[in-house]
Amino acid sequence: MKMKRGLKLLALVGVLSLVIAACGGGEGGETTTTAGEAETTTSAAGEETTTSAAGETTTAPAEGLGTIEVAAGDPIKIASLQSISGETASLGTDQVRAIEIAITDKAEVLGHPIELAFNEDDGCSSEGGQTGSTRIIADPQVVAVIGTSCSGAGVPASNVITSAGRVLISGSNTSPVLTSDLAGNASAEYHDGYFRTAHNDAIQGAAAAKFVFEELGLTQVATINDGDPYTQGLTGAFEAPFEELGGTIVISTAVTADQTDMRSVLTEVAAAGAELIFFPIFQPAGDFIAEQALEVAGLEETVLMGADGLLSDTYVTLPQTEDMYFSGPQTPTTDAYAEFVTKYTEAYGEAPIQSFHAHSYDATNMVFTAIEEAATDDGSGNLTIDLQAFRDALGSMTHEGLTGSLSCDDFGDCASPNIDIVQNTADQADIEAVRGNVLISYSREDLGL
């Protein structure tokens, strides 16, 4: 017995020493990783002096991130990391389709075919983002990752992918946590190498606030989120500018995404005396709020306002959502977009199912353009992509895409979106008509951001 215990201790010590040895080895291990690590620590350390941190992160990794060699005839690899299973599957599936269309449209970059090497699932969760991105970067040939669908998955994915020297570019992350507050302050989880073509929540929140205060002239507003990071972030982004304008948030409350009985919340809202309810949530909770608001005494005159999460066909056709206002990113109306929708419908048998496909299409094309700028050909078709040059090219380009003119700011926000405020009146029969019924459109400049 005694002897056995001694042996176990010995084994423990042995493992410990192995661990230490291993980590010692790991430190000086792969060169690309170390470079990335150094960079991550810089951005983390620069926390307190946020303004200067920005300058540091963009200039620090001067030693380079390494290169990716693509031999003649070999494909250039990109990957997607989207939510393709579970309840948010439609959000990711929509974007994966857009990426596939972009690849088909482009056909080849500098004479090389393009391969979507991974179609990973981010599971709309941080673990999903971590595992998925680790799987992708294990392939050293992947240049860029289009994703993630959800901001929660984006936080670890941004860290993992940019640390490996690669680029993560998202068509649907909107949380300010991943980039900046748009006032020049980098967020803690911003990493150089992260870009996005979707709008920052801060813009949409400010637009909705400005509309309610200036156009509708309402000052007493209730906000309801559903505990989802997106909706909570958006109500937060609404409240701050609204109060700055001089309005009052009479109650800022929340429901749960699977809640069916909204009457007690609405009773509280009624008691608080709200003139407008801003609830940028999803279905089905959004259905219940619209329906049950009619049944609660004191809310007969209250205006309802939602956001892009509720701009769907099944929602706007509910009789109770008549006269509701919605904020959301501008729907492209160009011919190019119409052509894209035709291709999409032909390929997948249904019209686009969510609102961020065009953003991912643009993101994919930005990647192609940046590769064309950053790669060098040795004359016989062998391509060398310098990862730092690739990042710089993405950061400095101006891309005319489906969603408008895209050029990235210092913190990876590339969209310069217009936020549309639309209304669902008796005249609009379907979602396309509602999206087309634009009351006012705000640009980033209009909002002073």
Partner: protein, 362 residues
């Protein structure tokens, strides 16, 4: 006999020996009571809600609660007979509601839906009832019957497995999307009698639940099958000796529990017209809480428990939590339900009408 004896002696022994745990539990009870009372005082004295609004919250609570009660019947009857928690019962409810959705959806395009809503409603109810009954019986046959007499935790774990299996099977079959029930026009709006305003859907739910429960009560008390159920619940072995087919009686219990859950599923679709594969989980847990609240194993108790839980849940956040000015308190609605469960088990493990089962060590 022996059971009665232990019940009598136990309190005496407890009282004589004050353990740190009982001191702690008493302190907890008093503290919780104080928190609840003070919160209610704050909230009522602030006068944020009018009397009419409080009354509305109560009525909402009663209608949700009567659905909990219907589901709780399944838990309480199975527990009464087999002494185990059928974790998958929430899923039986969900499958019923899912069936109700598809039947209602198919009916909604026919003229029957508008011409005679009562008939269509009946068809939906019957379809949901049959599906839930079938599912409940199938689960019993495949997953529980082979485990008769096994150690306590084993059927419980099996029922967790059954619950997940049904959830994800349904998800695979009909997809993860949330489905919206078609509306029934005649049930819109409110109904008034004697100055008391109530939503029509709520009235239908409450009346239907009362009818079902009344019927069940008579069935269990008066019919032969009902008597054999009570006999098996009392003592399966003796019941078997008296010539009662125990297996058959147990199937009957599952079938009736399933039927009630099916009715609840169809009613659910009327009030909260949306459903997905996960919709059974939370109502299931809450129905179980209702069963415990009313005293598990007791049919009348399940009804009382369901309605009380519905009221707690509806009024509780506004009454207690709002008193402390907790932001977004309705987000904590489910916390109230879970807390109610814990509190009942701490304060009165027997429930409102039940026997002392939670602490019985068998």
């Amino acid at each position: 006999m022996t059971q009665a004896a232990t019940v009598e002696t136990r309190p005496a022994r407890r009282a004589s020996r004050i353990t740190p745990v009982s001191v702690f539990l008493w302190a907890l009870r008093i503290a919780i009571l104080a928190i609840i009372l003070y919160g209610s005082y704050l909230s009522i004295s602030s006068g944020r809600l009018s009397a009419a609004q409080w009354r509305d919250l109560f009525v909402f609570g009663i209608s949700t609660g009567s659905m909990y009660a219907l589901i709780a019947l399944g838990y309480t009857m199975v527990y009464g007979v087999l002494r185990f928690i059928n974790f998958a019962h929430g899923e039986v409810f969900m499958v019923g509601a899912m069936m109700a959705f598809y039947v209602a959806n198919a009916l909604a395009v026919t003229p029957l839906w508008t011409s005679s809503p009562a008939v269509s409603l009946l068809i939906v109810l019957v379809a949901a009832m049959f599906t839930s009954t079938a599912i409940a019986v199938i689960i019993e046959r495949i997953a529980y019957r082979p485990l008769r007499g096994a150690p306590r935790l084993i059927p419980l774990i099996t029922s967790i497995g059954a619950s997940f299996t049904i959830q994800y099977l349904v998800r695979g079959l009909v997809g993860p999307a949330t489905k919206s029930f078609p509306r029934m026009e005649p049930l819109r709006g409110t109904f008034e009698f004697g100055g008391f305003v109530i939503l029509k859907t709520q009235l239908v739910v409450i009346v239907a639940a009362l009818v079902m429960m009344g019927g069940l009560y008579l069935f269990v008390e008066k019919t032969r099958t009902g008597k054999s159920m009570r006999a098996v619940a009392e003592d399966p072995e003796t019941a078997a000796l008296m010539g009662i087919n125990v297996d058959r009686t147990i199937v009957n219990v599952f079938a009736i529990g399933g039927a009630m859950a099916g009715v609840a599923g169809a009613l659910w679709g009327l009030v909260f017209p949306s459903i997905n594969f996960f919709s059974g989980f939370l109502p299931g847990i809450k129905a179980f809480t209702s069963a415990v609240l009313g005293g598990i194993g007791n049919i009348v108790g399940a009804m009382l428990g369901g309605v009380s839980l519905g009221i707690f849940e509806s009024v509780g956040p506004s009454l207690v939590l709002a008193g402390y000015e907790i932001p977004a308190f309705s987000q904590l609605k489910d916390v109230v339900a879970y807390a109610a469960l814990v509190l009942v088990l701490i304060f009165r493990p027997t429930g409102i009408l039940g026997e002392r089962l939670a602490q019985e060590r068998t």
